[in-house]
């Protein structure tokens, strides 16, 4: 009868560790190439706006790069994409259509926040600011 194996299993489970991952004491095991937060690396971006056109939920807006940043020559219009992380569905369409592969991908999955977040800071940090080096650098792994 199947009753016996179930009983044995239940008894075994009483004495073993719970199967739930005790977050935040333990880290959840996430794959290194899981689809997490992404942002544009402005040292490669040319300002073509393709990512804005293709984005399914229209989460990307093109904004002018503010004064004081050294913009590479290839970005003639001096615009850059800002991803609104609350609208983004993390489908990575922007990553795959970019003609210069300018998007940096990470597996950052801790995306909950109570204030609106976007990629302005992260993207601007990849540019030199009048004499300084890029502050944050590329924290992710450039996959393609």
């Amino acid at each position: 009868m199947a009753k016996v194996p179930l009983l044995k299993e239940v008894v075994k489970l009483i004495f073993s560790k719970p199967a739930t991952i005790q977050y935040p004491r333990e880290e959840t095991p996430v794959e290194p190439d899981a689809r997490g937060r992404q942002y544009a690396d402005l040292s490669k971006c040319i300002g073509c706006s393709l990512c804005m056109i293709e984005c399914p939920p229209k989460a990307i807006r093109m904004e002018k790069i503010p004064e004081g940043y050294e913009v590479p020559k290839r970005n003639a219009r001096k615009i850059y994409p800002v991803v609104d992380y609350f609208k983004c569905i993390y489908c990575y369409r922007c990553v795959t259509v970019c003609p210069t592969k300018a998007y940096v991908v990470t597996n950052e999955y801790r995306l909950a926040s109570d204030a609106p977040v976007n990629s302005r800071e992260l993207s601007l940090s990849t540019l030199k600011k009048a004499g300084q080096e890029p502050s944050q650098g590329k924290e992710g792994v450039n996959r393609r």
Partner: protein
């Protein structure tokens, strides 16, 4: 009924009819439906269906977005079967473009779809067990289902929403390291599934609640257009993977699973055997992946589509899912029509509840496999006392309403 003395000259007998809405309030569901069940005592005498809680403005929205944006839109119609929706839509686009994906991409698509079938069946079987009162089994199955979700994350990059399929192939490839990880996961999952299968076949409670309940004859199945495991459990051998033989299904070891009884237990057992077939297919794919490219360069795909129309079918875990895509040239589609299997399975089976007890209704509904994790609250209207009580689906199923 007792008669009042003197004053009245007639007594009107009001049978205790209880109107029980088996209804969804959860916005996250794909096909929420309100089934009003009129019961006399314990037996159902009439049932009605009311829909519209979560209307898919998706078909209208799809006409406003481009073909490629619609791939992501269609993948979000259902949380559980998102890869099959995207696959069906993309295959329709490929027919319009007259383009075929490379063999490696076909195998990878099949892999993801079979993984989805595995975790979807585990979910509905766990929910069936929970509804009849077997909570422990529900918890155990959900724990083992996490292994499949991990496998999906390894392949597609996300546990649930696999934005994996693109016109001309898939969006990521597998390397040997990932294939090894996947094989290990499948080796862990297989004995667990066999264990649960044995539990379903032998356990006394499950047998009492599911055998001989919700019987459907083959004629009822075809005339009402029921699909998927519901049809196959009544003997109708229909499976889109056989009819259309799309992607890699012509080459992998695939067989249609049918049973003759047509009751709830038969549907659950059909799902178990389908999981077995899925495991075999996944293992075959991991061992026999053809070489070559699988990922198209998305920047080179055509933006404008030629005129044309296509009708594709796919075997979602719940049944046959059909997509109709019509293009009149240009960047946006002219018409996208999605007919999901729950559409037929849930709405057309409303007349079949009559004659069963109220406690059977959730069990039968769960065996048709709607997206049921939403249907948590049920209102019991006691018409005699005029009281409304909120009762959870589980209590209803256990007869504590």
């Amino acid at each position: 009924m007792t008669e009042e003395v003197s004053k009245v000259d007639k007594v009107v007998e009001i049978p205790m009819t209880v109107e029980i809405p088996v209804g969804p309030q959860h916005p996250a569901v794909h096909e929420p439906i309100l089934i009003k069940v009129y019961a006399e005592g314990e037996y159902v005498v009439k049932a009605e269906a009311y829909t519209g809680y979560n209307h898919r403005g998706i078909e209208k929205l799809a006409e406003k977005k481009s073909f490629y944006q619609d791939i992501f839109l269609c993948g979000r119609v259902c949380g559980i079967c998102n890869a099959v929706h995207a696959d069906c839509y993309v295959r329709a686009l490929e027919h319009i473009l007259d383009k075929e994906p490379p063999p490696r991409a076909k195998y990878l698509r099949t892999l993801v779809m079979e993984l989805e079938r595995l975790h979807s069946h585990m979910l509905i079987l766990a929910v069936t067990a929970e509804i009849v009162g077997f909570d422990t089994l529900f918890m155990h199955m959900m724990r083992d289902r996490e292994l499949i979700m991990k496998a999906k994350e390894i392949v597609t990059g996300n546990r649930v929403l696999a934005d994996y399929i693109m016109v001309g192939g898939v969006r990521r490839d597998l390397n040997t390291e990932k294939i090894d990880k996947l094989k290990k996961i499948l080796a862990k999952v297989e004995p667990r599934i066999r264990h649960y299968w044995r539990v379903f076949e032998e356990d006394v409670t499950l047998n009492k609640r599911l055998v001989d309940v919700g019987r459907l004859t083959p004629a009822q199945v075809t005339s009402h257009g029921l699909l998927g495991p519901v049809a196959r459990a009544s003997g109708i051998a229909t499976d889109s993977r056989y009819h259309d033989a799309y992607d890699a299904y012509a080459e992998v070891p695939f067989r249609i699973v049918t049973r003759r009884e047509g009751d709830c237990m038969a549907r659950s057992l059909v799902r178990f055997e389908e999981m077995q077939v899925s495991l075999e297919i996944c293992r075959y794919i991991l061992n026999h992946l053809p070489g070559g490219e699988a990922v198209p360069d998305e920047r080179r795909l055509p933006r404008r589509f030629p005129e044309g129309e296509a009708f594709t079918t796919v075997e979602a875990p719940r049944g046959e899912l059909t997509y109709y895509v019509m293009s009149k040239g240009g960047v946006n589609p002219y018409r996208v029509k999605i007919r999901t299997p729950s559409y037929n399975n849930v709405i057309n089976t409303v007349p079949f509840y009559v004659g069963h007890t109220i406690a059977d209704v959730p069990a039968i509904l769960a065996s048709y496999d709607p997206c049921i994790s939403c249907m948590e609250r049920v209102t019991v209207i006691d018409s005699r006392r005029g009281i409304r009580r909120k009762v959870s689906m589980r209590d209803l199923a256990r007869g504590e309403a």
